[in-house]
Symmetry: C2
Subunit: 550 residues, 2 copies
Amino acid sequence: MMDRQLLVKRLLWRAEHVFGANQVITRTGGGYEVCMYAELAVRVRKLVTALRGLGVRPGDRVLTLAWNSQRHLEAYFAVPGMGAVLHTGNQRLSPVQLAYTINHAGDRVVLVEPDLVPLLESIAARLATVRHVVVLGPIPDGTGLSGVQAYEDLLAVADPVEELPEFGENTAAALCYTSGTTGDPKGVLYSHRSTVLHALMLCAAGSVEVAPAERFLLVTPMSHVNGWGMPYACALAGATLILPGTHPGPEDLLQIIHEQRPTTAVAAVTVGTMIRQAWEKAGRTHRLGSLRRLWLGGQAPSAAEISWWARTCGTRVVNGWGMTEVSPLGTFCSVAATPEELADTTVLERQARQGRPLPLVEVRIVDEAGSELAWDGQSAGELEVRAPWAAAGYFDQASGADSHRDGWLRTGDVSVIHPDGSMQIKDRTKDLIKSGGEWISSVELENALMGHPAVREAVVVAVADPKWVERPLAYVEAQAEVAADELISYLAERFPRFWLPDRVIFVQQIPKTSVGKFDKKRIRSELAAGALPEVMRGGMRHEDAVGGRG
Amino acid sequence: MMDRQLLVKRLLWRAEHVFGANQVITRTGGGYEVCMYAELAVRVRKLVTALRGLGVRPGDRVLTLAWNSQRHLEAYFAVPGMGAVLHTGNQRLSPVQLAYTINHAGDRVVLVEPDLVPLLESIAARLATVRHVVVLGPIPDGTGLSGVQAYEDLLAVADPVEELPEFGENTAAALCYTSGTTGDPKGVLYSHRSTVLHALMLCAAGSVEVAPAERFLLVTPMSHVNGWGMPYACALAGATLILPGTHPGPEDLLQIIHEQRPTTAVAAVTVGTMIRQAWEKAGRTHRLGSLRRLWLGGQAPSAAEISWWARTCGTRVVNGWGMTEVSPLGTFCSVAATPEELADTTVLERQARQGRPLPLVEVRIVDEAGSELAWDGQSAGELEVRAPWAAAGYFDQASGADSHRDGWLRTGDVSVIHPDGSMQIKDRTKDLIKSGGEWISSVELENALMGHPAVREAVVVAVADPKWVERPLAYVEAQAEVAADELISYLAERFPRFWLPDRVIFVQQIPKTSVGKFDKKRIRSELAAGALPEVMRGGMRHEDAVGGRG
């Protein structure tokens, strides 16, 4: 067989040649910027010339500090395409963490959005390796950064390279850092091979089924695990890609859906909630009906969420499981309750599972001794994964040996696998609550609480207990009047007595991590410090979980 | 990223673990043999033990002379799974050619169906390397072959191996010989990598979309280019696989569709025609409605064929383009006319195109000087292909240097590519007719003739002409009374005057190759020898094009 290496440029070849007239649409201040894939491919080849002019060589790292936009997408193809490594910086890390990742990666060139220049300025003094800064729009007046150039100026004078180079498929293509809330972020280095295989898998039936006739609204930040691989999969499939641009809020997303009529939107669970709240608030006038599917990730969607979308606009909520170390996708669930089944909690429960292992992904669950557990829907153990797009280790990091066991990636997620092969996350290993020698799943309690009509969001953590070692405590963000007693009674119908939280604390907003997940580490550390009021005062603006820097 | 090699056993892992309860169904004499994927995987591991016991070592070639059956499928996984090479012998080659391929491959063990034992006996004296013969059923009485054993006897005493071995993904997995009707057949060696990538591609949206909820009836022989990759793709996707067993005729296929209710059937165009003729003949009582799709390959389906299936049972005819050297699939067309569009020949014409290049497949068309031609739907040139599942050369064959140009596989097919990226075969380079310095496409004339209601099948070949160099001549197999003049008038409405065949010859049945294509080489050589009556008397029984040996 031909020795055709699996390179990112093969994805672009198909977008350019086969689906050249299909579009990439980016929300701008006043409307939308539209670019056909055929045009995009030429701009990508110009960007390669421009980056070479800035001294970027194969293997060098190029940082993006960027929103989901056409120019960011161009970097997604040009940087790996020339043999360099695309480091998608997470603007929602703390400045100290962000600077750490840039220095750790050794980034030489930064592509930065105009509105994120101040962020870059704030850490400029800490950066050891950056030589050039390219602004993806007008250069802000009076910037203190040196050697700043405008992206479009560079492209205007760049001749497109004739062809992107060939090299081995195990060459590094991209670099993302895990967004741990304590300790230094760790880098995961994706290869061309892993990126291409992951993209092809996203096109498979039973997976995301990325197809040319679809219009994908990508809300998930492209700074977060390759935008869940969607920019690459959409190019491979020739699908229309709709990008929300700079700092989108829920109202902006609503407007995009209304105007651009995506068939599928991809976002975190919390963003899905924000969109529907914004829709209600805006008088239910925006058209949502184009959305056949809503892929909600980051955590399991609640039955209430699934139900709302199905009833309101016939949208099927799908979800999966993934992590930075798995590119990210490992399992996917495309089960959908029919309208008649929406009242059936067992069907909704199946739809909220994280789904079956995807093609080429192998999973197992193991107990604490490392023995494999049965796929009986009952036995819970740590989920372990093998896949051509799963990390074998971390970038330039000696430690992390406990991240793998016998060639399997340890995910830190506790799950069961049902006899039909569908996987269901029960908890993070470190979020399990051990009470009187028995395990309590914080995730199951949270999901149950969020099924109560008065609860918007809920998080359950362990607090130390002299008698039981640990006991559950619930934080609840309510959207209607409700008493703690009522919530406990509600849970008592569903769980053993010893699972019931000892305390329910109502908060204004539950703190979240930079990628929109419940920040249990922060809650626990604040609790340990007796800082409950801090938690209660804390909170994020709406924009943060959508993609803002806060 | 993890160094997970793309091995055939990964496909089986998913079938066994995730879709273990899904079925492989084989037609037998009296009914069906049903096996769950979980059982199949255990039998595969037993077969590995059995083959090791017969001395099969990694790299050795194992021949199958088998129909589409569960046991054949087990060999599909066990032989490559243990690191040996599966040579799927084509029982419809001439005995001399078959013996040539077995000796050329150096096959050590033969897995043979009971009814094909006489074929093996007839060539046994010529075979130089075969050490063991395993019969996939009862051993026929009085066989003259030595060292014959029964498959089920071997499996009954074999312990399943615990795990299939790991090795490099470029290891050879399977071997098929091209079925040239003159000259020695040439072997194409597939790797594990090419097999896995091809299977994953078959699952992609816009491709065959193999999915767990589907029931695939695989009529295409598993002895023909890996059964078009479907056995592997179905395992990867967990799809139900329905196999027609020994020597199926059109009536058998009709019965299977009626009883097993496949959602998709995969067959050659000629077989599709036979099934509908058998349906009409049998009184239109068999249920065809389960068939949402009918993938017809080998040549372009006619507008009449597409229309008949859509009108009669709502079945969408899809087609693609492939060849032994491309594993086989390179392009695929899933366009479907709506019921309202069935009267619109432009829509049917689009549906009959060979479709867009599949993910990771690159195509181009070039003129005789090797210069690339435009994708304008007008410029016709030789189709060239690059793909991770396209052959770089032939197995153990020094010649064949003209099979490639600058790293591209020369397909020998003349095609155009339309601006929407869809490819349309115009002819084989060697079937083009050169008349008075202009090209005439035999395929376009054939398709037009087959659009006439009185024509069942038609083939057009060149005959030498002292004035024009070549002139077209048509062979027509009629299904109703029609005069040659009427057919010429019919063509005159559609083509330039100089395209019109000089002669129309009515034949009882058009000769076909061992894989069911029009045998133009035979027709030409008989014509050259002045052997017209031979052609007219010639013909095949129905079973032949379905899978018979004749």
